[in-house]
Symmetry: C2
Subunit: 208 residues, 2 copies
């Protein structure tokens, strides 16, 4: 019975992270993970291609992002859509699991190949968001930018959330991060150096 429980994926993730943290990523086997989770290896491989994928959500993030974007009401502008999506992800995937994601981050940082895989996953997520936005009629450059912003804001906020112990939720930190982003990009082009660009030859942006 237990292997059919709907939380099988999360139990496998927890068991794997605990084992990776205790005995190292390389030394941990799939049977050890399934034994600790009380599930079969068959169940494991229904959810994950290999033990490495447990650390990266088993490729679900790009598909989830694509669905959230496709299902959003047509009138939503891209950034509002993204903020709604980030809220959903923060609340359903991360909230309440801070210690587990801290361990996950430490394991990934400890291994060059895991770091590379992490970069590839971010890139795949970014690409899924970009394509989803283009399918909604967003221009290619804006779609690329908003996709990058989404992934950046999520990752910067995640690091903040994992570095702290306060009561602020991940979604609150995401909103803080977005506000910081607004402040940072709003500061350009009012700075003294860029105003100096006004005197540059044509083809340059004006002070505006």
């Amino acid at each position: 019975m237990s292997r059919w429980r709907p939380d099988a994926r999360q139990r496998l993730e927890r068991a794997a992270i605990e084992l990776f943290a205790q005995q190292g990523f390389a030394a941990t086997t799939v049977p050890q993970i399934t034994s600790r989770a009380g599930l079969t290896t068959r169940t494991f491989f229904r959810h994950f291609a290999d033990k490495r994928e447990v650390l990266f959500g088993g490729d679900e993030a790009p598909g989830l992002a694509a669905r959230l974007i496709a299902d959003a009401p047509a009138h939503l502008d891209p950034m509002t859509l993204i903020v709604d999506g980030l809220r959903t992800v923060a609340e359903t995937r991360f909230e309440g699991r801070r210690e587990e994601f801290r361990e996950r981050r430490a394991i990934i940082r400890s291994d060059e190949r895991l770091r590379e895989r992490d970069l590839r996953k971010r890139s795949a997520l970014c690409e899924a968001i970009r394509e989803g936005l283009i399918s909604r009629g967003v221009g290619t450059a804006t779609a690329a930018l908003v996709a990058e912003i989404s992934v950046t804001v999520l990752n910067v906020a995640l690091d903040e959330w994992l570095d702290r112990d306060g009561d602020r939720t991940l979604f609150e930190i995401i909103l803080d991060t977005l506000a910081s982003l607004q402040t940072a990009v709003a500061s350009f082009p009012a700075g003294p150096s860029v105003r100096g660009h006004d005197n540059a030859p044509p083809g340059r942006a004006p002070g505006a």
Copy 2:
């Protein structure tokens, strides 16, 4: 004499890109590259660890970014500093070499390992900018955000520049991209859905 000419690096880059485009990345050897550039393999290895590095600027980007940030006047705010840096990079590294960078991009896109290397380079550049900003006293979250924005804006603008044939300079496209970024992030939180969040109970998604 010729191998000491200050443009040795650029000549090696051009020769390598031409050969990669003509005969493929895998089939091209370092002696073929140096022969075409009229330089020695010793000169090649003073500039690049291997042929792959020719496609990625031989690790110079993070060091260049670190120097630009460290040398900038103390009063510059982070975004102004970044825009100045992007201008320097656009005008000294990219402008006038569009066809070569088009070929470079096509070669990188054609090979999974080159794409991974590209992601690692972006990550290393981002890290160098982040650390440079933190050394100037910028807060860690803002530094991480501004670093990500810098790399994102450069890459989105580069793709636009490479996809087109118009007269707009890369730096003009960078400024357009920054303006699009400002517009995109300014649209939040004024959107209808996000306004709805004000009425939502803490910690859960609104009607979205």
